[in-house]
């Protein structure tokens, strides 16, 4: 491989100070260091040896943890298409349709955000960092397969610009970048991301009888309005299987990568085992959602009494939904595993992480159930907690300061 390295090195003077393309030095450098770990050695003063890890490897670990969700997601796009149109198709065909629809979204997401990132590196004269390696793939995974590509480009560029670069770039952002992209689309173009018709790709084919474009979350709100238990209602209404096992495996409509709790669980195990994500956030998030779901059950009212026409009796079906459903519907699993654990926007102290994760779980369920205007709560819950994370840390660190101060008087 030495000859390739020599070849690249030969081009270097062109990009260095005084060279024709000196402005593009960091673009060149990003390419070179992508291919080759540079021959940089430790300084004369300071540690003489360094750990084998670097940011590229850490980011790549997240991408690898995402692979099960990506592959499943691609297949599920095709699968949803075929059950919606009633056509029979092989596994390969279903995967191919998913690839056809999703690949352009992935490419556009990387290209648009990457361009903004590179432009900032050039203007600000700093190296291009690896953060976008993960963000670029997270954005497509939280969007529906039917999203117009120009919206993907706009969202990706917007998120990198407003969520990251204006705060000073990688490591300085307050909000999770990929979620900012989704939130941008959610509020700017709600029809394309929160409507009933967007989750399943139909193409030119006509849908089957009883086709509903809504996701489980949309249907759950509808069940509540009609006063029918959620699982029964979805089971009767949806043209896709909605038993807990199917929900867990993820053969349901939704954003490209978020439907399968199983694949997210595999990703979570990879991230926890490699310690790239903090288990505290994931565990406390799950517990928070379960606890809040169980608490809401208490206030659900009495379905029997309503049926029997008891005066003043009320029944709230969504509140009555078993709390474990919250873990396997919508984007909760994906969000808590891959978004909430982003170390830059999460709480940074260990105690803070417990609180941060638990509140994400709690907020997600509250937003989902008690605020029917926003069927999906995880996105807003994480963004809200991103904003509150520094506050949580502030109190945790303050406790440490007080502990130190107390020692002084002893």
């Amino acid at each position: 491989m030495k000859f390739i390295h020599d070849l690249i090195e030969k081009q270097k003077p062109m990009f260095e100070k005084g060279g024709k393309l000196e402005k593009l030095y960091y673009v060149f450098e990003a390419g070179e260091t992508f291919m080759f770990t540079p021959p940089d050695v430790t300084k004369a003063k300071g540690v003489q040896v360094r750990d084998a890890v670097d940011l590229k490897r850490v980011m790549m670990t997240v991408v690898i943890a995402l692979i099960p969700a990506i592959i499943f997601g691609l297949w599920n796009v095709g699968y949803q298409h075929h059950i919606a149109t009633g056509e029979a198709a092989s596994l390969g065909e279903q995967f191919l349709i998913g690839l056809q629809l999703s690949l352009p979204i992935i490419i556009v997401s990387y290209a648009a955000g990457g361009t903004v990132e590179a432009a900032f590196a050039v203007f600000r004269n700093h190296p291009i960092t690896e953060g976008f390696l993960v963000t670029g793939i997270l954005i497509p995974l939280v969007l529906p397969a039917t999203i117009p590509l120009w919206q993907v480009a706009l969202a990706s560029a917007f998120a990198v610009l407003v969520a990251k670069e204006v705060f000073g770039g990688v490591g300085m952002n307050i909000l999770n970048v990929a979620l900012t992209a989704r939130a941008f689309l959610y509020f700017a173009y709600p029809a394309a991301i929160s409507g009933d018709k967007v989750w399943t790709y139909l193409g030119d084919a006509a849908p089957v009888d009883g086709f509903t474009g809504a996701t489980f979350l949309g249907l759950a709100v509808e069940a509540q309005n009609q006063g029918v238990a959620v699982a029964d209602f979805v089971g009767k209404t949806a043209h896709w299987a909605s038993d807990p096992l199917s929900l867990f495996i993820g053969t349901i409509p939704g954003s490209i990568g978020e439907t399968s709790a199983l694949m997210c669980l595999i990703g979570a195990l990879v991230l926890i085992w490699t310690k790239v994500a903090d288990y505290r956030i994931i565990v406390s998030g799950v517990l928070g959602a379960l606890a809040m779901g169980a608490l809401l059950n208490v206030f659900a009212g009495d379905a029997e009494a309503v049926k029997n026409g008891v005066e003043g009796a009320k029944y709230y079906a969504y509140l009555d939904m078993p709390s474990y459903y919250h873990l396997i519907i919508g984007g909760f699993a994906f969000g808590i595993v891959f978004m909430a654990t982003d170390p830059v926007s999460a709480s940074q102290t260990n105690n803070g992480k417990w609180i941060y994760g638990a509140l994400i779980g709690v907020m997600t369920v509250i937003i989902r159930v008690l605020n029917p205007a926003y069927p999906e709560g995880i996105m807003l819950a994480i963004l809200l907690m991103n904003v509150l994370a520094p506050l949580i840390d502030h109190y945790v660190v303050n406790a440490n300061k007080k502990r130190r101060l107390k020692r002084a008087t002893v």
Binding site: A52, L55, L405
Partner: protein, 452 residues
């Protein structure tokens, strides 16, 4: 009553090339020795007090700090001043002595230690050049003669990678160490000794007049800063304690028992690029040329005065630092690595990692022949929660470092700047995904607090 503190946090970097417990023979006698201002981070205005050509004895002053003139930095050997090295803007780099064949010692008064007053002891320590062995916390700089320290702390073991074993290097010097303790008791009511909790010690177990505590666990359990934190922590800028190494204690004892500044030192010469790693008997500040010639293999090699975490590169012909108790030799990692074969995307087992990110398959319990490659480039802080795992103190390293970078005095103070020295956060620098110069940041913080 002694405590046994079991520390869980930390990390042992295991390297190949541990020094065998023997003294190397057939090494040509080194001819030059030097004292270098860079070994004393608190030194503000270093000044050579000798001229080239002057003759000195071991213990004659050759260097002082213009801001703290009482403390003399003296020649480790007798001989002739041959060079005063200066760098940019005439910055003093080293005062070099060419040694005589037989060392002649300057004589200092000898009296039974119990009859020596504190003032006499202080004068002798300052004049002889042994004083700089006393390091002051907070700030980890040479002690100020006007300090009255609350306590003196000594760590009886060095837990750094490949560090020398004091049981070997100080064998038979119990009486000097005891004398050193007795002298220091004139300056402070308490001397704390931090023993290795996982072994008993022939050298230290019998010492009297000290409070002994045991510490066990991975590095930095042997760091005196960590031991202070768990014994009687430094709580403010005015809460002064001193620290001294066991070698320093022996030197103090010898000074008062025999009336001479004996800079003799048994150092470990270790690391993957050392041919039959073992110990070498020499003096502080030795030029490493002859040791390198006899012991170090290859040309693309980094020669370090000290260990791989807190030492510094000096080159094959550089001088050993004042506080260094070992020389480490590593291969320079100046080779580019293709990302799929042995770079950032390849599974590798030949490089040590504290982390478990994708492809880092090397076990942390095996011994490595690490090189000096940085394995990545400088990046903004992005990963959180790992520094805490290698700092066995109730401190948030990341918050402290950010307070230092922001010159936030109040927070530096509240977050524990007074309790740390560079060495205490050196492991953070090793494991840092973002490859920051953390020890440099710590020193910047200490300087900011000290000089404001």
């Amino acid at each position: 009553m002694s405590n046994n503190v079991k520390l869980k946090k930390g990390f042992d970097i295991k390297l190949v090339g541990e020094a065998a417990e023997s003294i190397a023979k057939n090494i040509d006698t080194p001819t030059t020795f030097a004292i270098k201002p860079e070994d004393f981070p608190g030194m503000i205005r270093p000044k050579a007090v000798v001229k080239v050509g002057e003759k000195v004895k071991a213990g004659d002053p050759i260097l002082i700090d213009g801001k703290l003139e009482e403390v003399k930095y003296t020649s480790p050997v007798s001989g002739e001043i041959v060079e005063i090295q200066r760098g940019e803007r005439r910055k003093l780099l080293a005062v070099v002595v060419k040694a005589d064949a037989q060392v002649e010692y300057k004589e200092f008064p000898v009296k039974p230690i119990d009859q020596v007053s504190k003032e006499e002891a202080q004068a002798i320590l300052l004049e002889s050049g042994v004083w700089p062995q006393l390091v002051r916390r907070p700030y980890a700089i040479v002690a100020n003669p006007s300090d009255s320290p609350r306590a003196v702390f000594v760590s009886a073991f060095d837990s750094h990678p490949l560090a020398p074993n004091f049981e070997f290097t100080l064998k038979g010097q119990e009486s000097y160490i005891q004398a050193g303790i007795d002298v220091l008791k004139k300056f402070t009511p308490k001397v704390y000794l931090g023993l290795n909790g996982s072994k008993s010690s022939a050298l230290f177990d019998g010492l009297a007049g000290v409070e002994k505590n045991k510490f066990s666990g991975p590095h930095p359990a042997g760091n005196v800063g960590v031991q202070i934190h768990h014994t009687a922590p430094v709580t403010s800028g005015n809460d002064v304690v001193w620290t001294i190494s066991p070698e320093g204690l022996a030197q103090v004892g010898k000074l008062f028992k025999e009336g001479k500044y004996d800079a003799k030192r048994i150092i470990a010469v270790a690391g993957p690029k050392v041919d039959t790693p073992e110990y070498v008997e020499t003096y502080a500040g030795v030029n490493l040329e002859t040791i390198s010639a006899a012991k170090i293999k290859g040309d693309n090699v980094r020669v370090i005065s000290g260990n791989v975490l807190t030492g510094y590169a000096v080159g094959k012909k550089g001088f050993l630092g004042y506080y260094s108790n070992m020389v480490t030799a590593l291969e320079e990692g100046n080779k580019a690595r293709f990302f799929l074969s042995d770079g950032w995307l390849a599974p590798i087992t030949s490089r040590l990692s504290f982390h478990k990110a994708f492809g880092l398959l090397g076990s942390t319990s095996k011994k490595y022949a690490l090189d000096t490659n940085t394995n990545g480039q400088d990046r903004p802080f992005a990963v959180t929660g790992s520094f805490e795992k290698v700092v066995p103190m109730d401190i948030y390293p990341m918050y402290l470092l950010k307070a230092i970078l922001a010159y936030d005095y109040e927070n530096m103070e509240a977050l524990g700047i007074y309790e740390v020295a560079e060495e205490d956060l050196a492991l953070c620098e090793f494991i840092d995904v973002s490859k920051h110069d953390i020890q440099k940041i710590v020193r910047q913080g200490l300087d900011t607090m000290r000089l404001d």
